[in-house]
């Protein structure tokens, strides 16, 4: 099977080279190109698209610092971080309860956590559009308790949608970490007169940390590039980086600028992945 050793990998490598790696290099090239007159672009080398992220140019060619796009990047980071934090906090009790059930019940509950993840993303986001709308269950409750305006098209609505979309990616690794916990350690904590909460803080949390960190990467990375929540639940008014990129690629829009924003997003993801790989390696060498 010596020959197969190489040939078996050729389809996978060609597919990923052709649809991911080479195209990403071209995106980098387009991000330094000139904007085309009718959409598209003309090959060139300048950093105008990156400058546009920070500065705007008036009719006289004067540059002025413009926080418009930085605000979008900030909102993206904020919402992705909040999504990750909420998923972490929520997944701890849930994963703990699942991990302490009988094997049959455990399998069933993990099944139930995973299932909604396979339901079309657009349907899941649409469901929240109905629920949070003025006629929806939560929307009506909001008005009943005296709330004003609509819940939709707010950062809160986007946050709910994002947590809902990505939470299974957090529960699974946290569950795996808690399941590996030796119950004797909890007993030991109790024997040493630690309260439940001290045991949780000093024993469970540190030992669950690798699972939480793994889940944080799994949630944070797709949350940074999320598109549907800002488009539908944010109503297009609350832009995130994903929607900013998306809008640059319609007819007659600014492809080089969209490519530049896409590369900034990619750089942010790569930083997270590299930090995570270093953390994992550090843990391996310590162990």
């Amino acid at each position: 099977m010596r020959g197969f050793r190489v040939w078996g990998l050729v389809p996978a490598w060609s597919l990923m080279l052709g649809t991911l790696m080479v195209p990403l290099i071209i995106v980098a090239m387009v991000s330094v190109a000139d904007r085309g007159t009718y959409g598209g672009f003309d090959w060139a080398f300048n950093l105008l698209s990156y400058r546009e992220i920070l500065f705007s140019e008036d009719w006289d060619g004067n540059l002025a610092f413009d926080p418009k796009y930085l605000g979008i990047i900030g909102r993206t980071l904020l919402l992705a971080t909040a999504t990750t934090a909420i998923c972490m906090i929520l997944s701890l009790p849930v994963a703990y309860v699942i991990a302490t059930r009988s094997p049959r019940m455990k399998a069933l509950l993990i099944y139930l956590v995973t299932l909604p993840f396979w339901v079309s993303m657009i349907v899941r986001v649409y469901a929240w559009l109905i629920i949070l709308g003025n006629d929806g269950i939560v929307g009506r409750f909001w008005h009943w308790i005296g709330g004003e305006g609509t819940l939709l098209f707010t950062p809160g609505a986007m946050l709910v949608g994002m947590v809902y979309s990505y939470i299974p990616l957090m529960v699974l690794p946290v569950f795996a970490a808690i399941e590996k916990l030796d119950p004797a350690l909890l007993e030991a904590g109790a024997d040493l007169y630690a309260s439940r909460w001290t045991t949780a803080r000093r024993v469970i949390l540190p030992l669950t940390w690798p699972g939480l960190a793994a889940g944080a990467v799994l949630v944070f990375v797709p949350a940074l590039g999320t598109v549907l929540e800002p488009m539908l639940l944010g109503g297009g008014k609350q832009m995130m980086m994903g929607t900013l990129i998306q809008t640059q690629f319609g007819g007659g829009r600014n492809w080089p600028f969209g490519a530049a924003v896409a590369l900034v997003l990619l750089a942010m993801v790569v930083i997270v992945l590299v930090l995570n790989a270093r953390r994992a390696m550090h843990r391996e060498t310590r162990a």
């Binding site: 099977m1 197969f4 649809t19 995106v27 302490t100 993303m121 469901a127 929240w128 896409a262 993801v269």
Partner: protein
């Protein structure tokens, strides 16, 4: 030991978990519930009716979108499963080969990168090289991001299975391909099916890439649904969503059931 003294019991955690599962399934239940609403308004219940299903199933634009989605998903599933199977065979049978870790990362690359960035990259490449067949563009792009979903269950199965049977086949002078076809493939077939089904669901559900590469004639089901949502919520939209939910759940249940079954068999 009374419940009060059970060190493993955390008061409140059970309640949080119950609310969590309610919250996880309530939105899906709401969509399904209002698909049977007779009223034009989505959230105002006035009576039971299946007329929105009749309307959905006689909607030509919807059926067109469904046809595009099925063609793309079926083709991409076959491509992705073959690519993944071939890569998984090499990677699991040559643990000490050069570039093994790198190759594994490359196969899983679509899981690591934000889909919107990859979608933009595909769009730019395809328009640069003049690759303009809408359907073919979708199939190529979908094949790539479906590959890791097909790869992971196949790889897990290959790693979990005993190599004794393959060794026995080799001892009996079976040619490598015969050994693969008659011994290895039947043993890992549930994993291959599970991977293929996950790939199919992922392709059917995709919005970001399909929307970016959409060229009018190749509107997929999620892209069509997005257009409908933009025009306002209707019970017909709920009926379409319900059908999509059922299809996804049935396939996911089958796939997860298949992988769970021989996880237990070990």
């Amino acid at each position: 030991m009374s419940r009060h003294h059970n060190v493993r019991h955390y008061p409140g955690a059970g309640l949080v978990t119950a609310v969590f599962f309610l919250w996880l399934y309530a939105p899906i239940a709401v969509v399904i519930w209002f698909s049977f609403n007779e009223n034009r308004l989505v959230s105002v219940w006035t009576g039971f009716s299946t007329k929105w299903y009749t309307a959905a199933l006689s909607n030509d634009a919807l059926l067109d979108a469904l046809r595009v989605s099925l063609i793309v998903a079926l083709t991409a599933t076959v491509v992705a499963t073959l690519v993944a199977l071939s890569a998984a065979m090499v990677l699991s049978r040559n643990p000490d080969m050069r570039f093994r870790r790198l190759s594994e990362t490359v196969v899983n690359l679509p899981l690591l990168l934000p889909e919107i960035v990859v979608a933009v990259a595909s769009l730019i490449l395809f328009s640069q090289i003049g690759f303009s067949n809408g359907m073919a563009r979708l199939i190529v792009a979908h094949s790539a991001f479906c590959t890791p979903f097909a790869f992971l269950p196949i790889r897990a199965r290959l790693q979990g299975m005993s190599r004794d049977y393959e060794e026995a086949a080799k001892d009996l002078y079976a040619a490598p391909f015969t050994a693969f076809r008659r011994v290895t493939l039947p043993l890992i077939l549930p994993g291959v099916f599970a991977g293929a089904m996950l790939a199919f669901v992922i392709s059917m559900d995709d919005f970001i890439t399909s929307n970016m590469l959409n060229t009018g004639g190749t509107t997929t089901l999620p892209v069509y649904i997005f257009g409908l949502i933009k025009r306002g919520t209707t019970p017909e939209l709920n009926a379409i969503s319900t059908l999509l939910i059922l299809a996804s759940l049935v396939l996911a249940l089958l796939a997860l059931g298949l992988s769970a079954r021989w996880m237990r068999r070990g």
